[in-house]
């Protein structure tokens, strides 16, 4: 018996059989589910992306643009660093939320645990990035739909708290696989559209 030949045969058999035994990567298999999208989001390691934002406020003729970078460090640190038109830092880290405008010498900090009206707004993005479905479900009713090809999806979050629903009617998030693309917040003081571009 020739051992190299036997080894080649074994390799061939394994190559044919293994795909049948091991589960396929989820994205390629069944239609995308909320759980699947969350798992993909949770698997992302975090990083930095650029963003542009437009606020449409009913009392204003034109939307207000801004842009900057978003940094996400799992499990719970999210920073929105606006560089245009004015520097501003909004950082959620654990229970703390920091708001700073260095140019104006403003720096405020608050506890998210103590701010029931702000916490859901932070979690809409942070818990989504973390793929933390239980936290999302604590604050929102979730309407999830896969969209077209290539793992695109759309998710509409409606606040469970009636009090919060007066101020914020809904948050619509679109993504692709484990990445976020758009966050549209419909609130009584206007509609905010956030577009995210991953950095190479």
């Amino acid at each position: 018996m020739n051992s190299p030949r036997r080894r080649a045969l074994l390799a061939l058999v394994l190559a044919l059989v293994l795909p049948l035994v091991l589960p396929a990567p989820p994205a390629l298999a069944a239609p995308l589910t909320l759980e699947g999208a969350m798992a993909a989001l949770a698997a992302e390691p975090g990083g930095t992306a650029s963003f542009t934002e437009e606020k449409a406020i009913p009392q204003l003729d034109i939307p207000l643009p801004s842009s900057g970078t978003l940094s996400w460090t799992p499990p719970d640190r999210l920073e929105k660093h606006t560089t245009f038109p004015e520097e501003e830092i909004l950082r959620a880290d654990g229970d703390r939320l920091l708001f700073a405008q260095p140019g104006r010498g403003i720096r405020r900090e608050l506890s998210l645990d103590q701010s029931p009206e702000i916490r859901p707004l932070v979690e809409s993005v942070r818990a989504t990035l973390a793929g933390d479905l239980p936290v999302l479900r604590r604050y929102f009713e979730i309407d999830f739909r896969p969209e077209g090809e290539a793992g695109r999806w759309r998710m509409v979050l409606t606040p469970l708290s009636a009090r919060l629903r007066v101020a914020v009617q809904g948050i619509e998030i679109t993504g692709q696989g484990g990445g976020l693309r758009h966050v549209v917040t419909r609130a009584s003081e206007g509609v905010t559209r956030l577009a995210i571009t991953p950095r190479p």
């Binding site: 606020k55 207000l64 004015e86 501003e88 229970d95 708001f99 900090e109 506890s111 003081e189």
Partner: protein, 796 residues
């Protein structure tokens, strides 16, 4: 035997019951005489039931920061719900919806910025640009909520001005002090930054703070809520790790009583054991020893009961004083047993017989000592009255029990006393009758002159038995919470709140230029939070009519992206503001945060209202005084807290000195009456060793750098009272040398037991008790030696 045990049992039960029943207090005002001017009247009123008496400061430490924050939030919530506090601050609270709506409605009436220029196009334009920048920011929801109704930002500026005053750092959503980070710790820098992390809380009691029970109940609420918050921990640190530190008037009272009690117990135990051993050795009988305790216990109980009955509550310092000083009551049974003629010297004398024989001297000694203390009952310093009553009642009860009850508790002929060691008596023998020792008195006088006489204590805090550590914690928490003790105050009263607020506004106007000039760093005043109705009406009058504003708004908004009707809420708000009735103190029920800010500075006092303006960082007090005098308003008092309290403390000491002197005269008078056939001259001769001993004691205290307090004077009086025993008994003519020796032995035994107590007391932690210990120890030694020097030489 059985009777003795029954009596002891009854006394013990009585003592237990009394200590449960009696309320203890530590009010500083008890140490002071009544006010004699408007400034002191105000100050005493503040000390008694001013804003400071309702404030409780707390800190939680000893756990990781998130856990401390959680505990602080839970504790704060529980305290707010308890209903005992008008305000609980820990950084987590905010304006309620109702309060915010109220203050928003009144924004133009409350803000000092309300003036015609605010509604001109340039100011409006600046406000709009600010609004636009705010709308771009992440704070847009907040900005949009208020900005279109208030483009000038008057409301948010006002809120920020009120809340931003707090210098306390907010971490994890609550107030924190200390970093706890390695490397940033500084030795002894407890004020800000350094030290372990601490969550801070501040609570103001509902009602006035003079109520001891409410204080105690509030403390209980604090501890209970903290324990419950700790039990709910679950995550992170265990509940046992974090500690609650508490300060406030109620805490002071409890700590003072506890500290005095601990000292008294320590002394009672230590000196008790020493005295027990010494007396057991002398009396050779445990039974006799137990009997000796009866007058002692009776005296202490009588003193405590008398003060509690007369004053309702016993001051911690009076309690410490009474319990320790009445230890001298033990002298009476010692003298009785020591003077009894034992077996072997003619016919043996029964205890009852000895009691009858020495009764005149015993009663005269105790009576004059008590009389000296009784004089203080006429004082108007509450503590001096308590001290006098405690001592006098205790001494009289002790001597009465010795004279009339003790003989029936003792065996008729107890075993004879063990004689004192020969060498001791031999050493003392040459002193007897050596009059030259009295030269110590002029020497002491010279020493007093040389040291500039006795110095008086003028710091109120040092008179109080509140432990140093507790006072340090209070000062530290005050520093960290940005609520330092105020030293300079401007106080004023007027018939109603509106008049007080108008006065406050005039003071604001007078002080503002001084702040600009740097004479003071700033000030807080009631009108800053609530303007007078007159001012509010003036602001209303300055508000433009909506019609005239419309054109200016359009002009200001030119080139900005606002839609034409964007500022409709602003115009509506102005119209509403012009029609509002002015906000008054009575309307603040729905505004607890504002009311809490205002209440320390604006409060009803009897039929009138009182206002306070609190200057901070005063570098030029003279300019401040001058600016206030220039207002020409007699109702305005400028108060230097430190100087006024110092004056009051010195007045209290002077008063104690006066009554001590009166007491001493009374003692001499009683001696003159009591020494039959002697008259004033004999009284003076008997009193001479005591007067000399007083001088020597004063000189010694001055040399030891002790600052005299009323306690020292009371202790002096008592040591004089004890000294009278020595003088009277050593001067008794003896039948034979054996009786003379017995007399000396009895008095020496008294002196040794007294020294065993008060010598130890001089080592106490509580300054008041230490002062008493030193005074009595020195006084008694001097009185014994000088009495011996004036005693008749024994017949050979």
């Amino acid at each position: 035997m059985r009777r003795l045990l029954l009596v002891l049992l009854a006394l013990a039960l009585l003592g237990l019951g009394l200590s449960r029943l009696v309320a203890f207090r530590a009010e500083l005002t008890d140490l002071l005489p009544p006010a004699r001017g408007p400034a002191t009247t105000f100050l005493l009123g503040e000390l008694r039931n001013g804003a400071a008496t309702t404030l409780m400061l707390a800190a939680i430490e000893g756990a990781p920061e998130p856990e401390l924050a959680r505990l602080s939030r839970d504790l704060g919530e529980a305290l707010r719900q308890s209903g005992r506090f008008s305000f609980v601050g820990n950084g987590a609270q905010d304006f309620s919806e109702a309060e915010r709506d109220l203050l928003f409605r009144y924004r133009y009436l409350l803000s000092a910025a309300t003036a015609p220029p605010l509604f001109e196009a340039p100011a409006l334009r600046a406000g709009m640009e600010r609004l636009l920048a705010g709308l771009r920011s992440a704070a847009a929801p907040l900005v949009a909520r208020f900005g279109f109704a208030d483009p000038a930002g008057v409301f948010l500026d006002t809120m920020r001005g009120w809340l931003g005053e707090s210098r306390v750092e907010l971490r994890h959503g609550v107030w924190f002090a200390g970093t706890g980070q390695e490397g940033t710790k500084q030795e002894g820098a407890g004020q800000d930054g350094a030290g372990p992390p601490r969550a801070l809380l501040l609570a103001r009691l509902a009602g006035t703070g003079s109520d001891t029970e409410a204080q105690a109940a509030a403390m209980a609420v604090f501890h209970e809520a903290f324990t419950r918050a700790g039990r709910g921990a679950g995550r992170g640190a265990g509940p046992g790790e974090a500690r609650l530190l508490l300060s406030g008037p109620g805490v002071f009272a409890a700590e003072a009583a506890a500290a005095v009690r601990a000292d008294v117990e320590m002394i009672a135990l230590l000196s008790g054991l020493l005295i027990l051993g010494f007396l057991l050795w002398r009396f050779r009988s445990a039974l006799v020893l137990a009997a000796v305790a009866v007058p002692l216990l009776a005296g202490m109980l009588a003193g405590l009961a008398a003060v509690a009955a007369w004053h309702g509550a016993v001051h911690g310092a009076a309690f410490g004083f009474g319990m320790t000083m009445l230890g001298v009551v033990v002298d009476y049974p010692l003298l009785l047993l020591g003077q009894r003629r034992p077996k072997g010297e003619g016919e043996e004398e029964a205890v009852a017989g000895a009691a009858r024989r020495i009764a005149p001297s015993l009663l005269l000694a105790a009576g004059s000592a008590a009389l000296g203390l009784t004089a203080m009952l006429a004082s108007d310093v509450p503590l001096l009255r308590q001290l006098g009553l405690f001592g006098a009642a205790g001494l009289l009860a002790g001597v009465a029990v010795t004279r009339w009850l003790l003989p029936s508790l003792l065996p008729a002929t107890p075993p004879p006393l063990r004689p004192l060691p020969g060498p001791v008596l031999a050493a003392l023998a040459p002193l007897r009758g050596r009059r030259r020792l009295l030269l110590a008195a002029p020497l002491a006088g010279l020493a007093l002159l040389a040291t500039g006489g006795p110095r008086w204590e003028d710091d109120l805090a040092r008179l109080s038995p509140v432990p140093e550590a507790q006072r340090a914690l209070d000062a530290e928490l005050r520093g960290q919470l940005g609520a330092p003790d105020v030293n300079l105050l401007v106080a004023f009263t007027a018939p109603d709140a509106e008049a007080v607020l108008r006065l406050s506004e005039r003071i604001d106007a007078a002080l503002a230029p001084l702040v600009a000039r740097g004479a003071l760093a700033g000030f807080d005043s009631p009108s800053r939070y609530l303007p007078s109705a007159a001012t509010q009406r003036a602001r209303q009058a300055a508000l433009p009519a909506p019609e005239s504003l419309r054109a200016r708004l359009a002009e200001a908004a030119a080139g900005l992206p606002f839609r034409p009707d964007a500022f409709r809420p602003f115009l509506d708000g102005l119209a509403e503001s012009r029609a509002l009735p002015p906000l008054t103190v009575a309307d603040l029920a729905t505004a607890p945060v504002l009311a809490a800010r205002l209440s320390p500075m604006l409060a009803p006092r009897g039929a009138a209202w009182q206002g306070l303006v609190i200057p901070a960082g005063v570098s030029d007090p003279a300019a401040l005084r001058q600016a206030l005098t220039a207002l020409g308003e007699p109702a305005i008092l400028f108060i230097d807290v430190k100087a006024e309290t110092t004056g009051l403390v010195l007045a209290a000491s002077r008063e104690a000195l006066f009554w001590a002197a009166a007491g001493a005269l009374g003692v001499l008078a009683l001696l003159a009456l009591g020494l039959r056939g002697g008259g004033p001259l004999a009284a003076l001769r008997r009193g001479a060793p005591i007067l000399a001993a007083l001088l020597v004691t004063l000189a010694a205290l001055a040399l030891l750098d002790q600052r005299l307090t009323p306690f020292h004077l009371a202790a002096l009086l008592l040591s004089a009272g004890v000294g009278i025993d020595y003088a009277l008994f050593l001067a008794r003519p003896a039948r034979d040398p054996a009786e003379a020796r017995r007399g000396l032995e009895a008095v020496l035994t008294c002196a040794v037991t007294t020294l065993l107590t008060f010598g130890l007391l001089a080592l106490c932690a509580t300054p008041v008790l230490r002062g008493i210990g030193l005074t009595v120890a020195i006084g008694v030694t001097a009185a014994f030696l000088l009495s011996l020097a004036l005693a008749p030489r024994p017949a050979r």
